[in-house]
Amino acid sequence: MVVVFSLFDADRLPNLARRSGISPTNTMNKEARLKASINQKLTETGERDRLKELLRAKLTECGWKDQMKAQCKDVIKQKGLEHVTVEDLVVEVTPKGRALVPDSVKKELLQRIRAFLTQHAS
């Protein structure tokens, strides 16, 4: 859910919120902005790319990639080699992928993200 504000509204909204108490939209705005800024920071410093590479390497190393490829093979055999689409694969395979990530990898990544955020948050 992305809430889009015009620049004018965004400037004015916090003042209104302070006067009228915290509204759900305001919290959401703040969250959104927070998120946006975090994403921006991640990209700017190159941390996002680093994390991506790290994750990819770890997943390959622990065999997750091969497992996933096996899953894909099943899907392909099911749907037929000629007619399989990206969507098919994504829809079938992504949830399994998310579940199959080993705990160690997950923990390490969360650790790194936390470290980054605590370092770069004011």
Partner: protein
């Protein structure tokens, strides 16, 4: 960049954690998507299923996990114990040694000509008879699976063994064989007992010559050989050639010529006191003086000095200048530290002169 949010701590911890989770799941989804794209492309391009072949091929190239075989199913040293018959000399050679043997046997390859030349040089000096090329090769040949030869400790030399060089038999046989029995093993390097003093001298001028403890052979490397020190080389030369040649060729070599012929004889005489009459080039006077000095010196080492010295003195009669000889001898005696060597040497000289 200014962040408007409050510092993330306390009740915001959950927010922080939530954020972290968000970032994480984004990354994971990214990875999954990437994988899907990769697989899809492989499928469409036709290279996705390449690693799956038919069952027969898979069975054939399966990884083997039995003891005694490698993962391809091959036995490790299958050919190690096999013996091959050499087409040249018709002997049975161990498989792993076959190639080097063939090199020497056929006379091709780098080392064989070198060894052959060296052998011819030394054998021509030792005896007049032609050494059979093959016999000499045999001497250096490690491949010959002759059980007795390989052991080598206190080897009783089989007189009829093909390994014995003909040239050796022609030498002054008796004492030489005894020498062999103590200094065994023809297999590698040069065994100095089989060489006459001239050969020893020529070898020592070009080679390191230090006699190794376990094989009793002279080192065939150059003078700069890193395994042996100059002191060792000097000691060997002293031992083999007599105290008048204590120096290496790059140093002074004045007085060596007259001592060498006796070196070999004296060497043998040192080892067996029972055979004083055996040495071929010995002269009567030097023998007498040897016996003289023998009585004075109980220790073998000092007798070595004296007998060599006296040998030098004996040959001195041929008229080479005595001064250089004397100076060399005094040099050597200084090194060896025998106490009364110098006065007795001079007394011998007085006697001879």
């Amino acid at each position: 960049m200014k962040m408007e949010e409050k510092p993330l701590s306390g009740p915001d911890n959950t927010r922080l954690e939530a954020l972290i989770q968000d970032v994480y799941s984004e990354l994971v989804e990214d990875a999954c998507l990437g994988l899907c794209f990769e697989v899809h492309r492989a499928v469409k391009q036709g290279y996705f299923f390449l690693d799956e072949t038919d069952q027969d091929s898979i069975k054939e190239f399966e990884i083997v996990d039995q003891p005694g075989v490698d993962i391809f199913g091959q036995v490790f040293n299958q050919w190690k114990n096999k013996e091959c018959e050499c087409p040249n000399c018709k002997r049975l050679i161990a498989a792993s040694r076959f190639a080097p043997h063939l090199e020497k046997c056929l006379g091709m390859g780098r080392n064989s000509s070198r060894i052959a030349n060296r052998r011819l040089a030394t054998n021509n000096n030792i005896s007049k008879s032609e050494s059979d090329q093959e016999d000499n090769d045999d001497l250096n040949d490690n491949d010959w699976s002759y059980g007795a030869e390989k052991k080598g400790e206190n080897l009783k030399i089989n007189q009829n063994s093909p390994r014995r060089s003909k040239s050796l038999k022609h030498k002054n046989g008796e004492w030489l064989r005894r020498v062999d029995s103590v200094l065994y093993n023809y297999n590698a390097g040069i065994s100095y007992e089989s060489l006459g003093p001239n050969e020893i001298r020529s070898l020592l001028t070009t080679q390191c010559g230090v006699i190794s403890e376990h094989t009793k052979r002279m080192c065939t490397r150059s003078h700069r050989c890193p395994q042996h020190t100059d002191d060792q080389r000097r000691a060997i030369r002293l031992f083999l050639l007599g105290p008048s040649v204590p120096t290496l060729p790059d140093a002074d070599v004045e007085g060596d010529s007259f001592d060498i012929p006796n070196g070999q004889a004296l060497l043998s005489r040192l080892q067996w006191e029972d055979f004083p009459d055996v040495s071929p080039t010995d002269s009567a006077s030097s023998k007498a003086s040897t016996n003289h000095s023998d009585s004075k010196r109980p220790k073998k080492k000092k007798r070595l000095d004296l007998s060599l010295n006296s040998g030098g003195g004996g040959v001195n009669m041929t008229g080479v200048s005595s001064s250089s000889c004397q100076s060399n001898i005094s040099l050597s005696t200084k090194k060896k530290k025998p106490k009364t060597a110098a006065p007795s040497v001079s007394s011998i000289y007085d006697e001879l002169n």
